[in-house]
Amino acid sequence: MVEDKINSNESEGAFNDFIEDRIDEMVDEILNDGNFDHFGDRNSDIIVDANDIIPPTFTYGDEGGGQGQGPGQEGGGKIKFGVPYKRFMELIASKLRLPDLSKEGNGKIKEISYAYKTFGPTGILLDKKRTFKRALRTSIATGSYVPQEDKWDVEIRRKDRRFKIPERVENPKYKAVVFYMGDISYSTFGERLEMEKRLVNFIQSWLDFNYGTNNVEHRFIVHDMDAYEVQQDEFYQVSNIGGTKASIAFDLVYQLAFHDYSVSSTNFYAFYFGDGEVFGNDSKEITEILTESMCPVFNRIGITEVLPGRWSRLNQDLSKNFSHHPKVRLSKIQSNSQTIDVIKALFGEYK
């Protein structure tokens, strides 16, 4: 007997390779039909549900009955396997040939602050409340404070003193901030809403993957004639029928970026979704904001017309100044199958 240890390592490896190929096929499928529903929660393993593999052979069909009596086939159902989120995103990135964004910007600076979280017997700032509580307890124990006997003395001894002790807290500065802008004046429901959700979902996942989940802040701005910040859920829910002005959303985003963050140490991204129907000199104002304010500090600005109609002209107007711009990307999406093209347009590099 040659073998010292009986194992199936080689066969397990062969099966794992087989599964790798399956995952590769699955990523291709996702990319082909633009279906990002597999994503689930960000940063969690992607559970892949595939048909179980059984060697086919001549066997009785279901209609014959009595299957339970024979040497039944195993499974016949599904096999599940988990793909680490990072691995999955790497596959997506390599398939789409997306650049590694984390190289951009200076994102490793940390904000240092002090929080008073612990308390000790020595220090500078006396915590009066805690000190008094301890002194009261001691006085009761020593018998100097007995209200029934009309003794009211609370002695504050050295041991009872409690001081606030500051603790150094290092908060990473946001490596990236992403602004999502949505036009709520157009009919964002049904297919249009699904497309927008998918795109936003991918952008969130992609940037989280590049900078680390905790290092990216996602902010959502909606606008009609006015622009204001909302929570993510509301981003898809609020709607209004009436006039619209997109430039105010861009202006608000710039203001937020400028006032809320350190411009020198943050990677800014902004993505606009709308039907592209703009009025008056809205396009001109957007061009000005982009050129003068946003382009110098933002890493990437994406403007996507979702199911554009015959009156949509935002991209058309902007393309005069921003076609093949290194930072401003213009795209249109008419169907789910174009999701990948839009992602490539938003994040890919011009050759």
Partner: protein, 539 residues
Amino acid sequence: MRLINTDPELFELEQRVKHHAKAMNRSLPEMRFFILDRLEFASLLEKHVYPTSPSNIWEGKKMINKKLQIESGQESGIYYEVVQTGNPSYAYLNNTNSPMMQASVMAHVVGHCEFSELNVLKDSNMDRTEFIMHLVKKVDNGRFQMGEKNYLNFWNAAESIIPLISPHSQFNLNRSIEDDTHHGQETDSTVPEEKVKVLLRPFSHTMDTLLKTSSNEQIWQEELQKKTQQEQISRQGYRLFAPCQDILGFLKNYAPCSWSEKAILNYMYVTHSTHDFVVRTQIMNEGWAMYWEKKIMMELFKEKAVKGIIDYAKTFSGVCLPRPFFARNPYHLGYNLWTHIEQLYEKGKISLDYWEETDQQKKNDWDIKPSNRPIQELENLVKTVTDYEFLRRFLTPELIFKFHLNRIPKQQAKGMGINKNDIVKEDDHWSWIQPKMVKNEMLNFFTHFYRPRIYIIDNDFKDGGLLIFHRNDYRKLRKDWIRPTLANINFIWKSPVYLISGNTLYSYSNHKMDEIEVNEVSFDQVAEKLQNFEKPVIV
């Protein structure tokens, strides 16, 4: 994996078990015991009880699954006994079992090893495990020659044909194919047939000529048949003269494969062909093993080599739990049948005198010591019959009742659609069905093993195609698996492949499957045509 002599306690037990087996006059091959840990055990089973196997995704899949089950506590990883019979036999002990359990496993293995040595199907052969290790090496060499992708593709295609092995079928290779050379098969399954002694007859040429009733036409036909037969053999090297049920065996020998591909088919055939022996002898085999296990264990308890007789009794009765006929427990049925037969022999109840006795009272009180020892008679049975004959001869209606083979939970009996007339007795929980029906069903199992019966009936169908025949048993084949299975056979045969099932002829070639309606032919018609040197099916 370590040898048993690395554990002094188990080594001592092994010696005692072997001693008692010898004292009981058992015919045993060399038995080698090894101790494995839980995962090694799981892996060994996936390798079909051989220590090595070529890399393949199916073993990998099952092992990964099993590891998950063991880790999540869904599978204990404790197995009763695992043995690869042959000479030497290799038996594997699970290191998590208690010494009493290990002793019972070793005693059980004694029964299996002897059964394989003695049984008419001759399962035991020299150096089986070593031979498999040699085949694994050949497959590994072939794998490098084929390249990983081609190797996996071929292996996966061949997996489809593994269930189509029938080395002991009435229509196995020996009984369906004749060839011009003796094939030096690297297999163990063929049983050397006894040479038929040709009786000398008085010879008179004149008388023969006068008595010959054959017409010239007949003589000419016979000559033509012989000529066709010779031509076919000389052209292809072999000829089908009956349907061949051993499809993997056929492809292994006659498919146009490279030596690397043949190595894979050969490995698969040799590792899986023993399953046919197991399924045909399981009741006798397990019963024989339980019988000797108990005998040896009693000796071990007597001499206090092991402790825990109560635990052993519990384990034994757990293993020998009665089950209804469709979920038959070979341990229970086999053990009880062997002990019953032994009692019959002890009292001389298997004799002509006993059968010819007409007085029932005398028959009941019959106790005539036989000339042979009962155990010799039991050994003769092992040497001459398999499960089918074993049950046919000895499973009486009384025993069917006694072994609870016809007792089914009432609710289940309803679900199975059993006719009310077939139920002979009922209480609140159980229904007892006709014992005759049970016996028939149990015997029928050995004709189909609950699997479709598939045969190769023409190796030159439509100019080089392989024609496969599904013997009609009024059940349809699983439709969505016909195409991938034919594709896999086509991958191995490398020419078009056809399947007749009912009145449909499926054909597969160039990644395309077609089906056309044909006149249904019976199996008997096909067999007859083959015997008459005719094409079994012409479309």
